[in-house]
């Protein structure tokens, strides 16, 4: 047995250095121009105070509006993902159904959502539907002083009880919206399972439900986990649009902070950075998990 030749570590070449310095030059020039034209008094600390401020009394940092906002964004994303995944699983299966009515229903759902701008979709849903829906399922008369509702667990899961029905409306909006994209991912996943798997499962006399549960879904889910993880990150970013219906998540609170402090640039740069850190961490986590799963399967 001969050893494979040693792989030399890839090093930066001259071309790379030229590219880097070009990009650097463009950035430096832009900053120079902007500061030339823009007479602006940068003040980061005022906005940073809205991320977290130092409380003299307890001698500790206390999370402020923007951190509350990102917590709400995470809660929204969490619940919307669960609901959207459920919708997507059912609708995605119906997309592949033999039954024409089922196929038409799921197709209509997907096409309606995908061909309306998200903002318009959310206005329609919120003003026409959720107002009716919330009173029908009785969320408006939620007892704010119940033991569970006033507990810390409830706060962690749903945020402020006073804003609960508002939160549910926002999460539902997002879920219905993202559900359409998950539907398509699930459909692709189911259709990627070779015909032979269906046939072999049916040939042993399994019932249609068992065929799906034991053979098709487990394999489809493995294939669609990476795009689903991507969709989760998209959902976090898309959650910004529910700020338009006054859900108090990061973007909504950012507009408030921007108008209170009048520090528009600082606010949005900081908020952008917060979204970036959040989404990039999830992306890094998912790609790590994916690599590990790949290695484990080998």
């Amino acid at each position: 047995m001969t050893e494979p030749p040693l792989q030399t570590r890839r090093k930066l070449t001259t071309v790379d250095y030229i590219c880097f310095s070009l990009v650097g030059a463009i950035i430096a020039y832009t900053i120079h121009r902007v500061s030339d034209v823009l007479v602006y008094n940068w003040n980061w600390s005022r906005v940073l105070n809205f991320v977290a401020y130092y409380d003299e009394d307890s001698a500790a940092f206390v999370p402020n509006l923007l951190l509350h906002g990102i917590a709400t964004t995470l809660r929204l994303a969490f619940w919307a993902t669960i609901v959207a995944a459920t919708i997507g699983l059912v609708m995605g299966y119906l997309r592949t159904s033999k039954n024409l009515a089922m196929r038409m229903i799921s197709r209509c759902y997907v096409e309606l959502v995908r061909n309306i701008p998200p903002v318009v979709f959310i206005f329609i849903f919120y003003f026409f539907l959720s107002g009716q829906l919330m009173s029908v399922i009785g969320l408006d008369d939620l007892n704010k002083n119940g033991t569970f509702v006033s507990s810390g667990v409830f706060y962690t899961l749903f945020g402020d009880p006073k804003l609960f029905s508002n939160f549910v409306a926002g999460a539902l909006c997002l879920a219905l919206f993202e559900g359409a994209y998950i539907t398509e991912i699930v459909r692709a996943g189911i259709q990627s399972i070779p015909k032979g798997q269906w046939e072999a499962a049916r040939a042993t006399g399994l019932s249609p439900l068992n065929v799906l549960r034991d053979i098709i879904f487990p394999q489809a889910v493995r294939k669609i986990l990476p795009p689903l993880a991507g969709q989760f990150i998209t959902l976090i970013k898309d959650s910004a649009i529910v700020s338009l219906i006054s859900i108090q998540e990061l973007t909504f609170l950012a507009t408030e902070v921007a108008s209170t402090t009048t520090k528009v640039f600082e606010t949005w740069i900081i908020v952008g950075a917060m979204y970036f850190i959040l989404c990039y961490s999830f992306a890094a986590l998912f790609s790590h998990l994916e690599k590990r799963a790949l290695r484990a399967r080998r």
């Binding site: 072999a200 040939a203 006399g205 399994l206 394999q219």
Partner: protein, 257 residues
């Protein structure tokens, strides 16, 4: 064993599979033209013919992986058509082995074999795994039970597929070109298992090009061409010249070497 089932459609108690005037179209193409055929208890029938002649379509109609459009098919005394519950019952009595194995890649070998018995009958996991190991033993692959399909060779996978079908204790086994996707050195290990199964008295319907296997194991050879059953005669008759022109042409092509 040389009964000609084309005449008189009465169902014997021994008749496990019977086709009566079965037709099937794919779009405008007629894949099966008026098929009349029956397979009796304990009989081994080999189906051969050029590709596109409808052999696979015919065998797949038995457990309705393809639906026929005209005529009737009876399997184990039940007519197969439409009704899902009845179809499931039929499929549990009919084992099937595919050209491309179709093992479930996300399950271990043992799970592949225990799944159907556990879901379809009220077998406990322990009982199911005992049965599964028995059949895996029979196809000589019990030592690989904890592995996954992708870790086995094609021949091994096909033997697992046979064990999986047997685990439902079927009354008939269907084989749809079981050795066509195998490397040459693995064909015999699968044919050996099939021969053994035949000598145990299993009723079998086998689509194959392995003429050596047909000669050795089959009671009857069915030759198909262009969606029709052209020959349906005893193995001896078929191989000693009692065959028609088309069958002659087909055999001379595949037995050249």
């Amino acid at each position: 064993m040389t009964d000609k089932p084309a005449t008189g459609h009465k169902l014997d108690a021994d008749t496990l599979i019977s086709f009566q005037g079965v037709c099937k179209w794919f779009g405008h193409f007629q894949a099966l033209q008026d098929i009349n055929l029956s397979v009796n208890q304990g009989e081994r029938v080999v189906v051969c013919g050029p590709s596109g002649s409808g052999k696979s379509t015919m065998i797949r109609c038995v457990n309705q992986l393809e639906n026929h459009q005209r005529g009737t098919i009876h399997v184990c005394g039940r007519e197969v058509y439409g009704n899902m519950k009845q179809l499931e019952q039929v499929r549990r009595e009919v084992g099937m082995v595919f050209q491309s194995f179709n093992l479930f890649p996300h399950m271990s070998i043992l799970q592949n074999v225990t799944l159907a018995p556990m879901r379809n009958t009220k077998l406990s996991a322990a009982e199911a795994s005992d049965t599964a190991l028995h059949y895996l033993e029979r196809v000589q692959i019990a030592d690989q039970a904890s592995k996954f399909p992708s870790q086995l060779s094609g021949g091994q996978q096909q033997r697992v597929a046979i064990a999986r079908a047997l685990a439902m204790k079927p009354r008939v086994m269907l084989f749809d070109e079981p050795t066509s996707a195998l490397d040459p050195e693995m064909i015999n290990e699968v044919l050996d298992v099939m021969s053994e199964l035949a000598s145990d008295g299993m009723t079998m319907m086998v689509v194959t090009h392995e003429m050596g296997f047909a000669r050795k194991v089959a009671d009857r050879v069915v030759f198909m061409d262009e969606g029709r059953v052209e020959e349906n005669c005893s193995t001896e008759e078929f191989f000693t010249g009692g065959r028609g022109e088309r069958a002659e042409a087909f055999l001379s092509k595949i037995l050249q070497h």
